[in-house]
């Protein structure tokens, strides 16, 4: 570990991207994500990378897809309004299986909303914002240290699974400065390249790994990339059997790897009668409330999904039968997943939508109420 230093969440995200090998950034600045663009603009040219400030978020997303097709690890960052604009090309990247990382530092919406205030209201948009059946990975950091570590992971997942990965941050962690200790080196994954000659290359092969090898544009492997439903050769198809095979693989491609993708944290769960499920910035308030409840003798535990999509349902299912409290800075989004997994009657909601971070006192008060009810 290197020396401890003070770092902002957005800065840690940018540093994580650099450690993971990012070489291309295209974006359009927007609060509260702008620091990521600023750092990329400063640092990418120094390492032979490219920074482009694009005309808008649609162009930014398109540019990182193009860059990634040439073999460059590519990043863009935005907030709610820009995240909406990126959805169309996000779908294109998913359908064409182009690795890339899209950071969304969530602010209060809808629309222009409260630009400098935090929220977690893009949770369902991260899952289903772009149309059609599709896989997605979304990671949700709760600390500055985790902004760094999860951005490295986001790139590694993107490269390994040929999959756009969303870093779903919030203004709380994005703008928080905190003591971090960054490692001297991190594990970096590179995408699998074809081991066959250009003549034998099947760009969207339905192989056992579910993840086809990816040739860089310019390396002599000539192939077709399209958002139209395509066969193994990459060319558009209208044949139901071919379409089905493609979508079967696309929508299930992460399944064999879920145990590595679904990250979560469990604290004080063994004897917990009530489990507080929280993620992102507000998870910090939740953990403080859980410790305070324990000091009052209440058997309360803490479960934090770090990967929110695909939702770690098996990990949570182990605790079915207990009571759950889900504090969120939205009017109830991820809580739907918890209700689906453990049953609606077991789950209490706690929502804050005024642009202020949910407080430990708010959560503690609800814990007391629920626990009285339980006993």
């Amino acid at each position: 570990m290197s020396k401890a230093r003070l770092m902002q969440g957005n800065e840690a995200c940018a540093e994580g991207a650099l450690a993971a090998g990012v070489k291309f950034y295209a974006g359009y600045p927007i609060t509260p994500s702008t620091e990521i663009a600023e750092i990329m603009a400063e640092k990418l040219p120094l390492i032979g990378g490219t920074f482009i400030q694009m005309e808008d978020e649609i162009g930014s997303m398109a540019a990182i897809i193009g860059a990634s097709l040439t073999g460059a690890k590519a990043l863009t960052a935005t907030s709610g309004p820009g995240f909406s604009l990126k959805q169309e090309n996000l779908g294109y990247a998913i359908a064409t299986e182009v690795p890339c990382v899209l950071v969304n530092v969530q602010r209060a919406g809808p629309s222009t909303g409260l630009p400098t205030s935090p929220a977690q209201a893009d949770v369902m948009q991260a899952r289903w914002g772009t149309h059609g059946d599709h896989p997605i990975i979304a990671l949700c950091p709760s600390s500055v240290q985790e902004c760094y570590e999860l951005t490295v992971k986001a790139f590694n997942f993107a490269e390994e699974f040929r999959q756009p990965v969303i870093m779903l941050m919030d203004e709380v962690v994005g703008h928080l400065r905190e003591k971090v200790e960054l490692p001297d080196a991190v594990e970096v994954v590179e995408r699998k390249k074809p081991s066959v000659s250009p003549d034998e290359y099947i760009p969207y092969a339905n192989n056992e790994s579910m993840i086809p090898a990816m040739a860089n544009f310019g390396d002599g492997y000539r192939y077709h990339v399209t958002g139209l439903t395509h066969g193994e050769n990459g060319l558009p198809t209208g044949k139901p059997a071919v379409a089905e095979k493609y979508l079967e693989r696309l929508t299930r491609k992460l399944d064999p790897y879920l145990d590595r993708i679904q990250l979560y944290e469990e604290i004080l769960l063994e004897d917990a009668e009530l489990i507080v499920v929280a993620y992102g910035g507000p998870a910090r308030s939740a953990l403080e409330a859980v410790h305070a409840a324990r000091s009052e003798g209440l058997n309360v535990g803490f479960f934090r999904p770090i990967t929110i999509w695909p939702f770690p349902q098996e990990a949570l299912e182990k605790y079915a039968g207990r009571q759950f409290l889900v504090p969120e800075m939205n009017s109830g989004q991820l809580v739907g997943e918890i209700e689906r997994v453990v049953g609606r009657r077991q789950v209490q909601r706690l929502n804050r939508i005024d642009g202020e971070l949910i407080t430990p006192d708010q959560i503690l008060q609800r814990i007391r109420e629920v626990m009285t009810h339980v006993q």
Binding site: P115, K179, E288, L357
Partner: protein, 182 residues
């Protein structure tokens, strides 16, 4: 060190967020855990601005200040919001230029000529934020001058290091002087 919570409050453009970052840097140099956050409007200058720092030798979960141990206010509006209702056990520092109207407190109250001293020394109000940082650090008694000095060296914009170190020294002296009088 037990958990120490600081609020720097004033008007956008006064450099209070940078001063809070420097205080947080000093805490990291002292080997402490620290979080620093801020809230402000969309304006580059003007509008209410608030920066917070929490320093502790334990892990810090909730990153916002709940019960401040020290509040700095450099506008009448900020004083009204954070200073007027402050527990008398907590320390309150105000600038006597920008917070002319204050109510008496029985203890822990420091009305200091932060802006005046800056103007006299440098001929402008620039670096008043670092003067304020010096006063805060001294009055808090939580950090050594050497750690704060190093933090200012790390964060001061290029070409302003000497000026800001001088500003820190002035603020620290104001703080120490105020403690001796109290």
């Amino acid at each position: 060190m037990a958990k120490q919570q600081f609020i720097f409050s004033g008007t956008g453009g006064q450099g209070l967020i940078l001063a809070a970052i420097m205080l947080a840097d000093a805490a990291v140099l002292a080997g402490q855990n620290v979080v620093q956050s801020q809230s402000y409007g969309p304006e580059a200058r003007g509008g209410a601005s608030k920066a917070e720092v929490i320093i502790s030798d334990e892990a810090i979960n909730y990153p916002k200040v709940q019960r401040p141990d020290l509040v700095l206010s450099i506008s009448q509006e900020a004083y009204k919001k954070y200073g007027l209702t402050l527990d008398e056990k907590a320390k309150l520092i105000v600038d006597d230029t920008y917070v002319p109207e204050t109510k008496p407190r029985s203890r822990n109250f420091y009305s200091l000529p932060l802006t005046k001293v800056t103007r006299t020394e440098f001929g402008s109000e620039q670096s008043a934020n670092v003067v304020a940082l010096g006063a805060v650090a001294a009055i808090s008694r939580q950090l050594s001058l050497e750690h704060v000095r190093e933090a200012v060296r790390q964060r001061a914009p290029k070409g302003t290091t000497d000026r800001n170190l001088k500003a820190l020294e002035l603020g620290w002296q104001l703080g120490v002087g105020a403690l001796n009088q109290a």
